[in-house]
């Protein structure tokens, strides 16, 4: 027995989301966290495409000999395109931040980064009210 194709796609989308969220929770490397995010986003995008898809329909393009027949909803596809572009932008920004973190702390280990960050906060908190502090960085 062959399951119908839409249920395969739905479970694929949910599977991608589960893999992505699992990776976010379990991986310890900043770069892998970012990759997990990419996978989760792909899952959400796939979900949005399936939401507007019809199996018995044609692509929503008007040609010269137009006969009325069911068309695929083009709106979710346009939205997914937007979401993909936004996602790429955010991922590029995340990569630059990863590079700066690596330069500052010399590690990509999330636990280590958090520890170093807390140490920095403690230091900043102690130095904040010390006399001779540099002027104003607001």
């Amino acid at each position: 027995m062959i399951p119908d194709i839409s249920s395969i796609l739905f479970s694929g989308a949910i599977g991608l989301l589960v893999i992505g969220v699992g990776g976010l929770l379990l991986s310890n490397n900043a770069y892998r966290v970012l990759l997990a995010l990419v996978i989760a986003e792909a899952g959400a995008n796939l979900m949005l495409v399936i939401a507007g898809y019809r199996w018995d329909a044609i692509a929503p393009i008007l040609t010269g000999d137009f006969t009325p027949q069911p068309m695929v909803d083009p709106v979710p596809q346009a939205m997914v395109l937007t979401a993909i572009v936004i996602g790429v932008g955010v991922q590029a920004l995340a990569l630059t931040l990863i590079i700066r973190v690596k330069k500052a702390y010399g590690t990509l280990n999330m636990v280590e980064i958090k520890k170093r960050m807390e140490m920095d906060f403690d230091r900043l908190s102690q130095e904040a009210n010390q006399p001779g502090k540099l002027e104003d960085n607001s």
């Binding site: 969220v21 980064i113 908190s125 009210n129 006399p131 607001s138």
Partner: protein, 492 residues
């Protein structure tokens, strides 16, 4: 006149992208232009607020509603846009450079602030779920950039904080996108007015999970309980004025988006219970963590988590009482938290370092004590009135458990806020640290906030009437639908 409201989104966006080029020719122009643009859009918003009393819908490009993009302008969104712009003007990053290269950095900072303002205005006005998502992402990207700017090179923590925030925020965006996909799957539309006509399709477990996903997704910026671990990190790492702006104003816009989702997508008690539970958890965790922290910035960051928990509790009360109480808590917190972060500008370090400062800087410590009293809810002050509305609404629904938790956390609030006051006026025989005075403009802004709170005490009946009008408009979904879907003569 009312079409000009679009300019409050377009102009900051346009200038934000032109600013790097302008800065190459004239640094003076690049410095002067953004505040001028902000003042211009404040004037536009104020005029529309005064002239057009009735709410109206703008169909952009004259496309009929479910197909085209709609801006829905009512008094609550106008007021939010007005506060976004006014607070941005007062919390505008100051020039802080000594080198040529730092000029370019502050130009970029001005661009990002304008992007933040434009996307926040878009969030206030937009009447379409996907449009909201796009503005929300734009806002998030502008925030990441602003957090990682600091002229203090020793502050390396800002990159780590920005990255950790980005991971949480992007996860939230994935959740929101999934929620949007589910809503579209159920109804085939994302326009709020069109969704309101199809609520029968949404009243099922899938609709509830779509709302829950949207709540968690947009709740990242609103400091909602399970996704708020970024709050103390980011507010400690970023400049304090930016933190004040994020905690005071931007988080409120995310709350507004969630309220829209609650009213138009899933206006049923299950969703309200979800918000009540998460709000209570946020309140408890925020207040307890604030009590444990030894750092002033960290303390007020956790207190802002707790206050937003209160906002969510208030909005979970069904009917008009909940909306009025929620708006009162929301606007009160907007003023109070901004003032507290302005105080943290110079007093952001360890609380024990502040001993004796009260005698040196009487104005700021006076402002701190006034604002703290209002936050706790001492009777004549506006904070008392907002908390009273909240408790009254909760009592009307017989949510006695929530009332108990709010009263207990108020005691905790008194504890940690007055620990600071105690240090400020301590007579201990230790040398008082020579902390720099606050910048005169920050002192002025904080004093203006205090003046606004005092005026609010006299004007309580007027404010109450305004809140009733706003909540009426927010709850009158039928005329919202009519304005957006039927009237087409409002096209641009």
């Amino acid at each position: 006149m009312k079409h000009y409201i679009i300019l409050t989104v377009i102009l900051p966006l346009l200038v934000a992208f032109l600013l790097p080029t302008i800065g190459r020719f004239s640094y003076f122009l690049a410095r002067a232009l953004p505040p001028i643009i902000l003042i211009f859009s404040i004037v536009i918003t104020a005029c529309v607020y005064n002239n057009e009393t009735a709410p109206f819908a703008l169909h952009i490009g004259d496309f009929v509603a479910p197909q085209g993009i709609v801006f829905h302008v009512d008094s609550i969104s106008l007021l939010m846009a007005l506060s976004v712009q006014v607070f941005a003007l007062f919390l505008w990053p100051r020039r802080s450079f000594k080198l040529q290269s730092e000029q370019i950095v502050s130009n970029k900072r001005y661009s990002l602030m304008l992007l933040l303002v434009a996307s926040a205005n878009g969030l206030a006005f937009s009447g379409d779920l996907f449009n909201l998502y796009v503005f929300y992402e734009l806002l998030a990207v502008a925030t990441f950039g602003l957090i990682s700017f600091d002229t203090n090179e020793a502050n390396q923590a800002r990159f780590a904080a920005a990255f950790r925030y980005l991971v949480i925020s992007a996860t939230g965006s994935v959740m929101a996108l999934l929620g949007i996909a589910l809503v579209y799957f159920l109804t085939g539309t994302l326009n709020f007015a069109h969704l309101a006509t199809q609520q029968a399709n949404l009243f099922n477990p899938i609709g509830l999970s779509a709302f829950a996903l949207l709540l968690v997704g947009f709740g990242v910026k609103a400091e909602l309980f399970p996704v708020n671990s970024w709050v103390p990190e980011v507010y400690s790492a970023a400049s304090k004025k930016l933190s004040g702006y994020l905690a005071g104003v931007i988080s409120k816009l995310a709350v507004l988006v969630i309220i829209k989702a609650l009213l138009f997508i899933f206006p049923h008690s299950e969703a309200a219970y979800l918000m009540l539970g998460l709000g209570l958890a946020g309140l408890l965790i925020g207040e307890l963590s604030a009590m444990r922290s030894n750092d002033f910035t960290r303390m007020i960051s956790w207190s802002s988590v707790a206050q937003l928990g209160l906002v969510f509790i208030a909005f979970s009360i069904p009917g008009q009482a909940g909306i009025i109480a929620g708006l009162a808590v929301l606007f009160h917190h907007m003023f109070v938290k901004t003032a507290l972060f302005l105080i943290a500008e110079k007093w952001g370090g360890r609380i024990s370092d502040l001993h004796g400062q009260g005698y040196l800087n009487l104005i700021m410590s006076g402002i701190f004590i006034f604002v703290a009293l209002s936050l706790i809810g001492l009777p004549p002050l506006p904070g008392f009135w907002s908390k009273f509305l909240l408790l009254n609404g909760l009592a009307g629904q017989e949510y006695y458990f929530a009332i108990a938790i709010i009263l207990i956390t108020t005691v905790i609030e008194v504890n940690y806020l007055f620990r600071v006051a105690n240090h400020l006026f301590s007579r201990e025989d230790k040398p008082v640290l020579p902390i720099n005075n606050h910048h005169w403009f920050d002192t002025l802004t904080a004093s203006l906030i205090v003046v606004a709170l005092i005026v609010a005490v006299w004007e309580l009946p007027t404010i109450n009437d305004q809140l009733i009008i706003m909540s009426d408009q927010l709850l009158d979904i039928e005329s919202y639908v009519n304005r957006v879907l039927i009237s087409t003569e409002n096209g641009l």
